[in-house]
């Protein structure tokens, strides 16, 4: 896979600036800024929600008000003013498109710039794309094929209307609204997101994918994703993000819940490339996300993430290994450049017997950035024979960036095996010289070395995502050795 992509990188390398820094001019239906009960009622009514959901939102809001914004992460930023945020924005043309031809041409152009034209994807990859621009889904494909198999893949709002009992049963069972400050906020004000249900014994035949994009200026985005894999089913879910260039900080506080029932498997891959701020640290997205999955007996959840964007990232995709023999995996590449800050990692909570978890984290710090791995491996007292392997590597590109590792291990069962490896290295002058002597330019050499360093993680990504991720890594690290 890797061997045919580096050459394509060269073309992209010409562009030094943030590639996706453009703004789409689509009329947007906004509600007034600020947060109070009335705003929440307004969001709920605009979305025509059932009363139980409004009550859930209002209760979450009460919980949120009683909580304080966490500050234990190794990041510094100006706390957002939650009364200055607009909590709902939807493209005015809210009706669903009958066919792809009906979609606003400007929106199509946006997608083309992102390299995700549906036409192309339909032909080449068989990926069903649920494209979320701001907060409302505007295009969904491959629905009928999925429908034949009983697979539900739709926007969260649609699921609330069409499958209220499924949403009601599962929502908030993995990430309760009491979980943390941002999860509570999301539970109160979430606008849309994705919903996915795979029935018993069904293997989803295509990668399910959602592209998120923050657009309207000053609009926070509060995505909600719920993926349920019923007994013995399998699904691979892709999430990719880019955002237009902005000077003011934009808050993103998503909640992702995964439920893998007995013998089910969920693979959740993310490539995140939100606007990281300029080279002086101005602007950029605040990404405060709660992602968590529960594994029942012999189930497996695998998180793979490539994080190159956002000014501040606070994110710990986690697995609760509840059922015996269940497996949790976390593969991560986090790149920080300029003044970006990332505090990311995972939590593996071993409850069941013979549960296994694997953590492979690759941090790359450049510029003046700070990159932290924070992970918790917790073995509860009934988790006989539980095993964990963690590997946390840090690569430094310059002398003034930082890499930090905060591994927490709590073990309450003596039969558990826990391994932890960590390395920190600086990108080698000798490696660069070796490449250059063979005729390879510095930029390309860096991309080669970094992609090699991240290979274990990139290999976990579906093919087309891996290619995109390699490009992102190269773009993020241009001219960064020093």
């Amino acid at each position: 896979m890797a061997q045919y992509t580096e050459n394509e990188l060269a073309k992209d390398l010409d562009k030094q600036d943030y590639k996706f820094g453009f703004v789409t001019d689509v009329e947007t239906d906004k509600i007034p800024e600020g947060l109070n009960e009335d705003i929440i009622r307004l969001i709920s009514s605009k979305k025509n929600e059932p009363s139980w959901l409004l009550e859930y939102r209002l209760k979450s809001f009460e919980i949120w008000k009683s909580m304080a914004e966490p500050n234990w992460a190794h990041v510094r930023y100006k706390k957002p003013d939650f009364q200055k945020i607009i909590y709902y924005a939807a493209p005015t043309q809210t009706k669903k498109y009958e066919s792809w031809d009906d979609v606003d041409p400007e929106m199509k152009e946006t997608m083309a710039k992102l390299g995700i034209s549906l036409e192309e994807q339909k032909k080449l990859t068989g990926v069903a794309v649920d494209f979320v621009m701001d907060s409302v889904s505007v295009a969904t494909s491959f629905k009928s094929k999925l429908k034949e198999l009983g697979i539900i893949f739709c926007s969260f709002s649609e699921a609330v209307q069409e499958y209220p009992e499924l949403v009601k049963e599962h929502m908030g069972t993995v990430v309760p609204n009491t979980d943390n400050f941002y999860a509570a906020l999301n539970s109160a004000v979430f606008t849309d997101g994705s919903f996915c249900y795979i029935p018993k014994g069904v293997r989803c035949p295509m990668e399910l994918s959602t592209y998120f994009r923050i657009n309207a200026g000053g609009t926070g985005q509060f995505e909600r994703t719920l993926v349920i894999a019923d007994e013995g089913s399998y699904v691979s879910y892709l999430e990719g993000c880019t955002a237009p260039q902005r000077d003011e900080n934009q808050l993103h506080a998503a909640v992702v819940e995964l439920k893998a029932m007995n013998d089910a498997e969920i693979k959740y891959s993310t490539v995140q490339n939100w606007y990281p701020g300029d080279e002086n640290g101005l602007g950029g997205i605040f990404n405060f996300v709660t992602k968590r999955g529960i594994c029942e007996t012999n189930a497996k959840i695998s998180w793979t993430q490539v994080e190159t964007g956002s000014a501040v990232t606070w994110k710990y995709p986690s697995c609760i290994l509840k059922g015996d023999g269940s497996i949790g995996e976390f593969y991560s590449v986090a790149v920080t450049n300029n003044y970006q800050q990332a505090d990311t990692g995972t939590k593996m909570i071993h409850l069941g017997k013979r549960t296994k978890s694997t953590i492979i984290s690759k941090g790359i710090s450049a510029g003046n950035s700070e990159n932290s791995y924070r992970g918790l491996v917790q073995i509860q007292k009934n988790a006989h024979g539980a095993r964990n392997f963690s590997q946390c590597d840090s690569l430094l590109m310059t002398d003034h960036c930082g890499a930090h590792t905060f591994p927490y291990i709590e073990c309450k069962n003596p039969s558990a095996q826990i391994e932890h490896e960590a390395t920190t290295s600086k990108i080698g002058e000798d490696q660069l010289f070796y490449c250059k002597q063979r005729g390879i330019s510095e930029e390309k050499a860096i991309s080669l070395i970094v992609n090699g360093y991240c290979k274990e993680v990139l290999n976990q990504l579906p093919m087309e995502f891996a290619v995109e991720a390699q490009k992102l890594l190269a773009i993020s690290l241009e001219g960064s050795v020093g």
């Binding site: 070796y434 490449c435 002597q437 080669l448 070395i449």
Partner: protein, 251 residues
């Protein structure tokens, strides 16, 4: 091919090369021998473009260009190849990927189209035979977990793939057993042509049993103090370097 005139270079304030002269023509093999610390590896590093060295005097002309004005990769594009004394490991980057990137960069610099996957793989198969390199090594990460002998064979494999005009072999024989030595030498001999040239830097005469040089130079104290043919190498093997040192001091 290459002409070095009165080259002076220092590192961290210490002068290593003190007026080195050397001319190599196409079709020739030159051996540079000398005791430890004479400046042999410094010469190789400077030719390849290591930035730690400060050139204080002299000039180097390679294929009509002022070599010292060129970046490391530009030198490689012109056909200069260094077989490293200590080849570097690049984890996660396969040998073939690495070489394909290198070949295409060189082709691009010459205004040529990238090599097709088919041609490339055919070339890998053909060239790996020259150094009896197991095809699995070609798909493994660059030098990662290679034995000392495998690393050196891989250097010659890369040389075969890149087909340079001038190859500088920096102590390629160090750490090789006799079989590996023979394979490496066979590779170098196979690649020899009327259009390319080789500079073999070595400590011992042993390698020169297999790679027969047209000229043998003795590098001592930053200068080439004696030039001869293969007999000179044999004499050095027999008598060591002391007589050279004495001669030089007397002179």
């Amino acid at each position: 091919m290459i002409e070095i005139k009165n080259l002076h270079a220092k590192i961290e304030g210490k002068e290593i090369l003190k007026g080195l002269n050397l001319k190599v023509n196409a079709g020739e093999v030159h051996a540079i021998m000398g005791p430890n610390g004479a400046g042999k590896s410094t010469l190789a590093s400077i030719l390849a473009g290591r930035e730690e060295y400060e050139i204080t005097e002299g000039e180097v002309t390679f294929e009509g260009s002022d070599l010292l004005e060129l970046s490391t990769e530009e030198r490689a594009h012109l056909g200069l190849f260094l077989a490293f004394q200590y080849p570097v490991e690049i984890p996660g980057v396969s040998n073939v990927n690495f070489l394909r990137t290198a070949i295409n960069e060189i082709r691009d610099a010459k205004g040529e189209d990238p090599i097709s996957a088919k041609d490339f793989m055919a070339m890998v198969r053909e060239k790996s035979k020259i150094v009896e390199l197991d095809s699995s090594l070609a798909s493994r990460s660059v030098n990662e977990g290679f034995s000392g002998g495998e690393k050196k064979r891989n250097e010659i494999f890369q040389m075969a793939m890149l087909n340079p005009k001038l190859a500088v072999l920096d102590e390629t024989d160090s750490g090789l057993d006799i079989d590996a030595l023979r394979i490496v030498a066979k590779g170098v001999n196979t690649l020899k042509s009327a259009n390319n040239a080789t500079i073999v830097i070595t400590h011992y005469q042993r390698l020169l049993d297999y790679i027969v040089p047209d000229f043998v130079h003795v590098l001592y104290d930053g200068r080439i103090v004696k030039t001869g043919n293969k007999e000179l190498a044999l004499k050095l093997e027999e008598k060591g370097y002391d007589w050279i040192k004495e001669e030089t001091q007397v002179g």
